[in-house]
């Protein structure tokens, strides 16, 4: 009888350690944070070229992440890249906000940086950010550098 009691306890500990490990993975490894449950609203921005931006890339103001890219598509009329992003609804942005695509580090991932302007009008949810700056494509830059006419300088 004593023996089965020990066995039961060990099985209980085993199952409990599995549950603890699962919660550890959820909280500590994937950071299943309340961020995904927070209220967000969507903004759109048209870029001439969205470069290596991906779904889930960070959207930040002054280096602080306030949202994520939700969807990237091509506008069928202007052939621009349309980027939809989820912004944490704590943050309301003025309507002359600039959206630029930057790269974190030399080889790092690309992200959207928002720079709020001074306007008193705020962008409504599902609004569009008008002032944008495209991603810098390395090949274009090198091309411009190589084929620059030196006599023009």
């Amino acid at each position: 009888m004593q023996n089965t009691k020990i066995q039961d306890t060990l099985v209980g500990l085993f199952v409990a350690s599995g549950i603890v490990a699962f919660f550890f993975m959820a909280m500590q490894i994937s950071n299943l944070s309340p961020f995904s449950h927070e209220k967000v609203y969507t903004l759109k921005a048209h870029f001439e070229n969205s470069g290596g931006l991906k779904v889930k890339s960070p959207v930040s103001i002054a280096g602080v992440r306030i949202g994520r890219v939700r969807k990237i598509s091509v506008d069928k009329d202007s052939y621009d890249s349309v980027v939809e992003m989820d912004i944490n609804s704590e943050y309301i942005l003025p309507d002359d906000t600039t959206a630029s695509i930057f790269t974190a580090g030399l080889l790092g991932e690309q992200y959207i940086s928002l720079e709020p302007g001074g306007s008193n009008e705020m962008i409504k949810p599902n609004g569009v950010i008008d002032i944008t700056q495209s991603a810098i494509v390395m090949e274009e830059m090198i091309g411009q550098f190589l084929f620059k006419d030196p006599s023009q300088e």
Binding site: Q7, D8, L10, V11, L13, F14, V15, S17, G18, A21, F22, F24, M25, A26, Q28, I29, S30, N31, L32, S33, P58, L107
Partner: protein
């Protein structure tokens, strides 16, 4: 010449009839699983011998696999000046691939072989037929609790393996090699997705648990009742489980992470 074709035909028919027997066996076992809940003591004993006794091998291998990943990852990533992504590398490789696959291989070696030998010996010593004589269904009494125990233990062992591996990677990367602890965890947390990575890893481990228990129990149940037959069946369990795990892992990865 005809002899040659006869051999091919025999082999083909034999392997198909084995596949058929295995499928019927699986259906019978799944049907019998409900009756296990009437006698949870049986399941508990099997959880002990399949799950708890595999605990040590899984945690210790998880620790060392994580430590090796931390060490190798550090040397390669430091060439690019990207040591900060060490945490991401360790966690992503463990949660997506190494955790489910290595713990399944260890589980097949540790628990699967034991299951086959046990059931095979029961059949050889005619204990299974003895049960049938007493109107006890051996599938309900012997097979189904072991199948359920494998099904439950595998995801638990896999999550343990992955979590301990991440801690092992932290021991080597952060404490010994001096990667910043904050960036070790934050890079990991920013890039590991709960549904995309962790849940998919757990689904993989559940599939592996079912397949390993199925193969092990069927090989034991279908063994030729001699001592040589049992030894062959045990070998086949380990070999076939390894094939099944690695093949299924490719298919599952392609379905979950690829765009096929």
């Amino acid at each position: 010449m005809i002899c040659f074709f006869e051999k091919i035909g025999k082999k083909t028919l034999a392997s198909f009839s084995k596949l058929g027997r295995a499928t019927f066996f699986l259906i019978q076992v799944i049907k019998a699983c409900l009756s296990v809940f009437l006698r949870p003591k049986l399941l508990l004993a099997q959880l002990y011998s399949i799950g708890v006794l595999s605990f040590m091998i899984i945690t210790i291998s998880g620790l060392f696999v994580g430590m090796v990943l931390g060490l190798q990852g550090f040397y390669i990533l430091s060439d690019f000046g990207a040591e900060e992504t060490l945490g991401l590398m360790v966690a992503a490789s463990l949660v997506r691939e190494l955790g489910p696959v290595i713990s399944a291989l260890l589980f097949a070696g540790r628990a699967g072989s034991a299951l086959t030998a046990e059931i095979g010996l029961m059949k050889t010593t005619e204990q299974l037929s003895g049960m049938e004589m007493m109107a006890v269904d051996p599938i309900k009494r012997v097979i189904a609790p072991r199948f359920l125990a494998g099904f439950i233990s595998m995801p638990i062992l896999t999550t343990l393996f992955s979590s301990i591996g991440v801690i092992g990677g932290q021991i080597v990367g952060v404490i010994i090699l001096g990667v910043d602890e904050g960036s070790y965890w934050s890079q990991m947390q920013a890039n590991i997705d709960f549904q995309g990575d962790i849940i998919n890893g757990v689904i993989k481990s559940i599939v592996f648990g079912v397949v390993i228990s199925w193969i092990a129990l069927f090989e034991g149940y279908d063994t030729i009742p001699t001592s040589e037959g049992v030894s062959r069946a045990t070998t086949r369990t380990v070999v076939n489980s390894a094939f099944a795990i690695l093949g299924l892992d490719f298919i599952l990865t392609a379905l979950m992470f690829g765009d096929i």
